[in-house]
């Protein structure tokens, strides 16, 4: 009898092709949209996490200015740092493993017919260590180059790509502003971050070279400090703050005129933004799930008269209520399963394409797949089954008279 019931249900599905199709479509839309959106959202979040790891754990940046973005009161020049400030961090604070002095500006770099606006950065070899850069080609600066401010540079992959294409840049001379300098190293690419910031877009030269030949001053605008393994970054930030207050002679009642930024905090803030975005996507997805659900509900309710009459006829010719119900339940389950499976496949497919389009990892979440599937299938079953159950409880003649 069970097999007979399944056969009846399958016949009913084929007999009501349009109704079946629309029900399946509702499930497909609900399940597919949720899976696609959450998959893409999760991929973006994963991308941020990966970026955070690339930033290097345990790095603090010290910037001039009162707020984290470095802006002081309008009109007041920011009080910059010096190389001594940087070295003091390294020498006087045991929590600091290595600290690099950085000075930078946006400038155009030229080679042959190619040119690019990029970050021109002055620093020394400590930066490569603190920010965990690896060399793809060439070498870091020599002590002599740093000491005498020679016109040499290390470039990022993006600059290499624009100016030199696939050719070997080592030994070539590019021009940064008016300074012609020889490429001695190429850093291994870190790729793009989720927010589109290209992490490989810069030209690095010795701090002294930058100060004399590009900036024309002896300022250091950023202290980039890597914290010793196992040290709490908050504690390190407090120690750095105390030392800098002392070095910059800030009175006890005065506010800091610089800021210590925990890169991890920035990263987690970014991650927070992605979480919000993922949440938004999920909300949109929930709406589609709901729309799909309402679609299913509609189809089922619209056909309730026809179904009720059918149930009346079956009861009249001798069907027991549970046989009729089983048939309708099987019908609802089959439609929901078919819709759910197509929805899962479509959702994962869309998620995959979406992830590729946004170049974020493809991160399907089995839990979401399960939840979306269960929800849509549940709606299908509930709205297929419950009207049928009500009808099956009527006297046949009442079911037959249903308008």
């Amino acid at each position: 009898m069970l097999w007979e019931t399944i056969r009846l249900a399958l016949q009913a599905i084929l007999r009501h092709a349009t109704r079946s199709f629309l029900t399946v479509l509702g499930v497909v839309i609900g399940v597919g949209a949720v899976i696609a959106m959450v998959t893409v959202g999760q991929g973006s979040a994963d991308q941020v996490t990966a970026d955070v790891e690339k930033l290097g754990a345990n790095t603090l940046m010290v910037l001039p200015g009162e707020d984290p973005l470095g802006g002081g009161p309008p009109g007041t020049a920011l009080k910059m740092f010096t190389l001594r400030d940087n070295n003091a961090l390294e020498e006087q604070l045991s929590v600091v493993r290595v600290s690099a002095p950085i000075s930078q500006m946006r400038a155009r770099v030229v080679f042959g017919n190619e040119n690019r606006r990029t970050d021109v950065v002055g620093t020394d070899n400590r930066y490569f260590e603190a920010a965990q850069w690896e060399f793809a080609l060439g070498r870091p600066f020599t002590a002599a180059e740093l000491q005498s401010g020679r016109p040499v540079c290390v470039i990022g992959e993006t600059v290499r790509d624009t100016l030199f294409g696939r050719a070997d840049p080592i030994g070539q001379s590019l021009r940064a502003k008016t300074l012609s300098c020889e490429v001695v190293g190429l850093l291994r690419s870190k790729g793009a971050s989720t927010f589109g910031t290209d992490q490989d877009d810069f030209v690095i030269m010795p701090l002294r070279t930058f100060q004399r030949r590009i900036a024309g001053n002896s300022d250091v605008s950023v202290l980039f400090a890597a914290i010793r393994e196992g040290v709490d970054t908050e504690r390190a930030a407090r120690e750095i703050e105390a030392l800098m207050r002392q070095r910059r002679r800030i009175g006890a009642a005065e506010e800091d005129d610089f800021d210590v930024i925990d890169m991890k905090q920035v990263a987690s803030m970014l991650a927070g933004i992605t979480d919000i975005l993922t949440g938004l996507l999920a909300a949109v997805a929930m709406v589609s799930l709901l729309v799909g659900g309402i679609g299913i509900m509609n189809i089922m309710l619209v056909s309730v008269t026809e179904r009720t009459r059918e149930i009346g006829i079956r009861l009249a010719v001798g069907a027991e209520a549970r046989q009729v119900l089983m048939q309708f339940l099987v019908e609802a389950v089959v439609l929901s399963l078919v819709g759910g499976l197509i929805g899962v496949i479509a959702g994962l497919g869309m998620g995959y394409l979406g992830a590729r389009a946004l170049s974020v990892p493809f991160a399907p979440d089995p839990l979401i797949v399960l939840v979306a599937f269960a929800f849509s299938a549940g709606v299908g079953v509930i709205f297929g089954y419950f009207p049928a159950r009500r009808a099956a409880r009527l006297d046949p003649i009442e079911a037959l008279r249903h308008e």
Binding site: I313, A319, R322, D395, I397
Partner: protein, 240 residues
């Protein structure tokens, strides 16, 4: 003929003070207003009466499709009111064949599938079912329409499919609500001959509602209903 209805036979259907009341208060309609009726196995009963007199309502109650508001209904000596919903379904399945006034065929199902429907619930195997349904359709002169949907059939053809469905399961009792209402006289008489033969040869009990004297004449007994009551009840010739 009246003798053949044999008073010695066991009462199959016994109605005692059956009422069926629709609505409440001022809107109350007493569709059945105290029906006393005994039908014995093998009888062929015709029910006539003006429109709205409660013929269909009575047939529905007898067919266990509807429940009376009051009174007693015994089928084969069993008080139907004590049966569960599923037991009533089994009673319909194994003893009763019903022809509705409005046919009530399932749309989107061929004539054959419609006729097979009761047989599915009787648990017949597919091949058996097919054979029985096909035979019932041929009996009704519809062998060539077996694979048509109701929507592709004329009113009269649908009516004959409904009769075939009621008969396919070989019920003990056939309850037919104006089974020839949509047929021409020639076709009606053919159908009545089929029913009469089943009644005579296989002892099928038939309760048939009709408006046509010609069709009622095939029955052994005539019940005349007016306003939810039985106005007269007796062997064919006398009451008519």
């Amino acid at each position: 003929m009246a003798e053949r209805a044999g008073q010695a036979r066991a009462p199959l259907i016994e109605l005692e003070g059956i009422t069926r009341i629709y609505g409440q208060g001022a809107a109350e309609v007493r569709a059945l207003d105290g029906i006393d009726l005994t039908i014995r196995e093998g009888e062929f009963v015709a029910i006539m009466g003006p429109s709205g007199s409660g013929k269909s309502t009575a047939l529905n109650v007898i067919g266990c499709l509807d429940r009376p508001s009051g009174g007693h209904y015994r089928f084969c000596g069993t008080e139907v009111a004590t049966l569960t919903r599923d037991q009533r379904a089994l009673l319909r399945r194994h003893y009763l064949g019903f022809v509705f006034q409005g046919y009530n065929l399932l749309p989107r199902m061929s004539a054959l599938q419609n006729v097979e429907l009761p047989l599915i619930y009787k648990g017949l195997k597919r091949a058996e079912r097919n054979r029985a349904a096909m035979a019932a359709l041929r009996h009704m002169g519809l062998g060539d329409r077996a694979h048509h949907d109701p929507s592709e059939l004329s009113g009269g053809q649908q009516q004959r499919v409904a009769i075939a469905r009621a008969l396919a399961g070989r019920p003990r009792v056939m309850l037919a609500d104006e089974p020839t209402g949509n047929l021409d006289t020639k076709r009606s008489i053919e159908i009545m001959e089929v029913l009469t033969a089943l009644n005579r040869e296989e002892g099928l009990t038939i309760v048939m509602v009709t408006h046509e004297d010609d069709m009622a004449a095939f029955a052994d007994r005539l019940i005349w209903m007016v306003d939810g009551r039985i106005a007269s009840d007796g062997p064919m010739g006398k009451a008519a």
